[in-house]
């Protein structure tokens, strides 16, 4: 009853082309943005920042990046973890060489390196599709991890073999390193995540989005209408790897603080892929849903017994958690194979008619 589009007339193509075009949705999104920008950061504890908010934002960015490639352009990639690694390592090297440059700029630049590597490993996509492409990107995964381990130059010849984030300041705030406060880090990742989301939305609703989706849906007829498949696939790999690389740099610089090569192993790739699939392929919103499901939900479930004052051993909680998350994944995929974002849009459709059945 309250969620109606009738009477909400669009009088220009511009108004019709808005990303969120329904009035009620705009209100909802504004509330969510307000929540994440002001309410949550000013009210939550240090633990929540470290365990929920910061990883949620970082993983959302990564899922967003993979969603461009897998959801919109239809190219499966299992190299996400390694591409995040490329972002992180290049960010580390850039900080080493240009310590005085603002860290925000460094993080945004480090995505470019990941982008180049992504394009390189995306080239096989011109010849191979589907599972075979997944295997080809798997090669990138193993090869890059090997490089991260073997090339000591990448971690500045540290004895530990790990990259450690140096302390840096920007605008008189300590933004990286052990002494940086969580709220500063949170705002930085939020700014970068918002920027990436905006860029993604703009690309998706324009020419690039159509080109990617057409290649996903039917590569033969996209070629017929004059789409260069090479450009389409390579640009999808480039943009996707850029966003993924930036998220990798954020992962190390604003969350973990230090990283070894095995942080970016195949497990991370699968984690991001799960987020995209559970959240919903080809949906910007889905990336956030997926990240919430995979990153935030386990933490929430973990603290439930504490909250209720139950004396349960922490290992038991951990195991029950795995069971719950596992069965939820199966349940969601059975109920709606297109992921949480589709469930969300079905809910919206229902809400449109509510309280009437048709």
């Amino acid at each position: 009853m309250y969620y109606r589009e009738s009477g909400d007339f669009k009088t220009s193509y511009q108004a019709d082309n808005q990303f969120i075009s329904v009035y009620q949705d705009k209100i909802l999104v504004s509330i969510i943005i307000f929540l994440f920008w002001l309410v949550l950061p000013l009210s939550v504890s240090e633990f929540t920042f470290q365990a929920i908010l910061i990883p949620f934002v970082i993983y959302s960015t990564a899922a967003l990046g993979l969603n461009i490639l897998t959801g919109y352009a239809g190219q499966i990639s299992l190299g996400t973890g390694a591409f995040m690694g490329v972002g992180a390592y290049s960010c580390y090297k850039l900080v080493t060489y240009f310590p005085e440059v603002n860290i925000l700029i460094i993080v945004l630049l480090s995505g470019l390196f990941s982008s180049i590597i992504g394009v390189l490993f995306g080239l096989p996509s011109l010849k191979i599709k589907g599972f075979y492409l997944a295997i080809a990107t798997l090669a990138a995964q193993f090869f890059l991890i090997w490089i991260f381990e073997k090339v000591a130059w990448l971690y500045n010849y540290n004895n530990s073999g790990a990259i450690e984030v140096p302390t840096s300041t920007s605008f008189n705030f300590v933004v990286t390193g052990p002494s940086a406060s969580s709220i500063t880090k949170y705002y930085i990742v939020l700014i970068i995540c918002s920027l990436m989301t905006l860029i993604t939305i703009n690309l998706i609703r324009g020419r690039f989005g159509r080109v990617w989706q057409s290649v996903r849906d039917n590569d033969i007829s996209s070629e017929i209408i004059g789409i260069n498949i090479l450009h389409a696939k390579i640009s999808a790999f480039a943009i996707s790897s850029y966003v993924i690389g930036v998220s990798g740099a954020m992962l190390v610089f604003f969350w973990k603080g230090a990283a070894e090569a095995n942080l970016f192993d195949i497990g991370l790739s699968f984690r991001i892929l799960f987020m995209v699939i559970i959240g919903g392929l080809g949906s910007v919103l889905g990336a956030f849903f997926g990240a919430f499901f995979i990153v935030v939900l386990p933490v929430l479930i973990n603290v439930v017994p504490q909250f209720m004052g139950l004396a349960v051993a922490s290992e038991t909680v951990e195991h029950v958690n795995l069971i719950i998350i596992g069965s939820l994944i199966i349940a969601i995929l059975i109920i709606e194979p297109h992921g949480l974002s589709r469930l969300w849009s079905i809910g919206r459709e229902k809400l449109r008619l509510w309280p009437f059945p048709h």
Binding site: Y13, N202, G206, R207, F208, S214, E223, I225, G226, I227
Partner: protein
């Protein structure tokens, strides 16, 4: 992909009158199967030409050769007076060749509007930077092309399904959207592969009307493959008949109708 339209790929030849497309002794074979043998015909500007023939005659192969899917072993194609050798389909699209498919090949996950807008991709030039910014030149360009897309939507009378994902549309409408997508490219030559296949009478009449209107209003040259002889005879000004990969007749509908070889090919000669 303008680089591949380099001079060694296309040499200007003497343009012959107002012939838009000239197919010259095309032979195409897949291993031992000879799909096309020495087929030659020409398509005049602003005319509707039909290619007919029994199943397996090589009609679709012929279209695939024209828009660059297949590369014939022998023969040449002249389009707009330019000689061309091997060419990728998207390069053919740049030159102004659009087509639809026998079994609809739309982008199923995208809306009708986006399918048609995708057809305008070649005309849109704003680069990644402007696209990422969206506000400004990219949006202006988008809105300009939206207007063109809306004109096509009006022309094909598909306003009500503008925002529907095409995968959910019935077959007849999908065919119409596919025609719209081809039309959005503003082609000089439109190849229609069985545009009326699987349609009922009303849908066929609608489609015929659209084909004639496209030809008249936009002045588009059309080559179509069709099995419905009534449609072929009514629509086309010229008919090319293929059988077993060879051209057996070529002429006005009346000439073809009374041609004994054509009658034999369709009905047998006993």
């Amino acid at each position: 992909m303008n680089a591949s339209l380099a001079p060694d790929n296309i040499q200007p030849t003497s343009p012959s009158g107002n012939t838009l497309l000239e197919v010259d002794q095309i032979s195409l074979s897949f291993g031992g199967v000879k799909a096309l043998q020495d087929v030659s015909f020409s398509v005049e500007e602003k005319q509707i030409t039909a290619i007919i023939g029994p199943n397996g005659a090589g009609k679709t192969s012929m279209l695939n050769v024209i828009n660059g899917f297949y590369h014939p072993q022998q023969g040449q194609i002249h389009f707009k007076g330019l000689h061309r050798k091997q060419m990728r389909p998207h390069e053919a699209a740049v030159q102004g060749i659009a087509r639809t498919f026998q079994n609809v090949a739309l982008f199923k996950g995208m809306s009708t509007l986006n399918n048609i807008m995708a057809g305008r991709n070649l005309k849109m030039k704003k680069n990644l930077f402007w696209q990422a910014l969206y506000y400004g030149p990219a949006r202006d360009e988008e809105m300009r092309h939206r207007l063109e897309a809306e004109k096509i939507i009006d022309f094909l009378e598909i306003q009500s399904i503008r925002k529907t994902p095409v995968g959910r549309l019935p077959y007849g409408l999908q065919k119409r959207v596919e025609l719209g997508r081809a039309l959005a490219m503003e082609p000089d030559l439109l190849l229609l592969d069985e545009p009326m296949a699987g349609m009922n009478l009303e849908e066929k009449q609608d489609m015929c009307r659209f084909v004639l209107d496209i030809n008249e209003q936009y002045g588009t040259t059309i080559v179509l493959i069709e099995h419905d002889m009534g449609v072929v005879m009514d629509l086309s000004e010229r008919v090319v008949v293929l059988d077993y990969g060879r051209k057996i007749a070529d002429g006005t509908p009346d000439e073809v109708r009374s041609n004994q070889t054509v009658i034999d090919a369709y009905l047998g000669n006993n």
